[in-house]
Amino acid sequence: MNLTLKIWRQKDATSKGAIQTYQLEGVEPDMSFLEMLDVLNQELIDKGEEPVVFDHDCREGICGTCSLQINGEPHGPDRGVTTCQLHMRMFKDGDTITIEPFRAKAFPVIKDLVVDRSSFERIQQAGGYVSVNTSGNTQDANSIPIAKDKADAAFYAATCIGCGACVAACKNASAMLFTSAKVSQMALLPQGEVEADRRVLAMVEQMDKEGFGNCTNTGACEIECPKGISLENIARMNREYLRASVK
């Protein structure tokens, strides 16, 4: 496959970036998207040019490190996958592919395609945890019975890998799918219920502070989420917050 790549290049956080065009030949359809970028970078290095900087780690769709807005969609045109799981067979020979960083005020670009997603971590730190002492006195898991549907819903919420595709896809750059998943995975379980009120108030406050937009229920996040996190979580967060703020 021969491709035309339009890639956002930006020297550092303070520089003004621009789209640059690259021609890449001999791309295999079985390559992952990141492997295709590896090939491009090897060519750039061979030519003595600066390689394109992009985030990646596990390359098996579980770490949430890879990002990229590919042809106007986070993680590209495939559904339920991260960029590392996106294969070049999703594209055709001769295609032009536009590759940009995730765009949000709360996700500032560090270099090229890499953005700083520590705003997500600060939301987590604001309340996305359970304050129980687990050292040495851990209970047997079966001593706290949990309804199957609740356990499942909590598990599905917990599959969020915090990649930021929801923010990238949202026309308002809202982080409500991420925040609601982190609120839900705890609020649904008895261990997390104790701190539920404090948690949701603190996490939403932090989310607002970071400068994310507001959810307008377009549902783009749910479609683009590589883990299929449901909008039900946002509704749950809305309920939790309403309940906590009138108490």
Partner: protein, 259 residues
């Protein structure tokens, strides 16, 4: 008449001031979620208003001698009944609140992405109506202004003597029925008004298509047991209500006997 106008303006200005002060200071409005609750709450209240308004308007489809009497008596009731007066003030406040809250949210949302994408394909993951609520809302707001000038303004401030009407018990009231029929039967403007109203109702339809379900989601009502019901009700509501509203001007222009 002049004193009344000044009173109305002072009232509107005070209301606006109270609302903007409330929005700037209240804890119930500060957070992003609180703004969503208010958007949903006022929006769903306005859905109820639409039902009431439609029920009243459908009386315009009536023909014969009694049609004028029936509609004007209904109009008299709507302008004098104290409960309806309170409801109409709440409706105006809701519209104002919905608009201001919408503007505040839109400005925040724009700020959340200072640098846009070179390539952005929202059509692959969301519906057009859900992404254009602001545009649709602006069209609806413009319509509300036109609609108020057409009828509410005429009723309140208009001095059309020939549309003054005597009720059965001898009271003199303005003849809203004749005013309405004449507006839509006007040789020059009647059809144009009908088309303007039709376009506005299409905008309301799309606004409701997203807004109805979105309101429930914002208030946290999302449950597999009820989602289908809410979705179907929303779709039906967004088609039936605007359609029935839009039929009335065309019915008056094409079908109803000329007066």
């Amino acid at each position: 008449m002049f004193a009344n106008e000044v009173k109305e303006r002072i009232f509107a200005f005070t209301l606006l001031k109270i609302i903007t002060n409330f929005m700037a200071k209240s804890a119930l409005l500060k957070s992003s979620l609180a703004k969503k609750y208010w958007m949903a709450f006022t929006g769903l209240f306005l859905c109820l208003f639409l039902v009431g308004h439609l029920a009243g308007n459908l009386q315009l489809l009536a023909t014969g001698e009694g049609a004028r009497d029936q509609f004007n008596e209904y109009a008299l009731f709507m302008t004098t009944n104290p409960i309806v007066r309170v409801l109409s003030i709440v409706t105006f406040a809701s519209i104002l609140f919905h608009v201001i809250d919408g503007i505040v949210l839109t400005v925040n949302n724009r700020k959340a992405r200072p640098q846009g994408y070179a390539s952005f394909k929202p059509a692959t993951n969301s519906k057009w109506s859900s992404r254009n609520m602001g545009v649709l809302g602006t069209v609806i707001l413009a319509f509300i202004v036109i609609h108020l000038i057409n009828f509410w303004g005429e009723m309140k401030f208009g001095g059309l003597d020939d549309t003054v009407y005597q009720t059965a018990n001898g009271e003199t009231v303005k003849d809203l029925y004749t005013l309405t029929i004449r507006t839509f039967q006007d040789a020059e403007m009647g059809l144009i008004w009908a088309i303007i109203y039709l376009i506005s109702m299409i905008a309301i339809g799309f606004h409701l298509y997203h807004g109805f379900g979105s309101g429930f989601q914002s208030l946290g009502v999302n449950h597999p047991k009820y989602n289908n019901f809410v979705r179907k009700t929303g779709v039906a509501f967004s088609i039936i209500v605007p359609l029935l509203f839009a039929i009335i001007p065309f019915y008056i222009y094409f079908v109803l006997e000329k007066i």
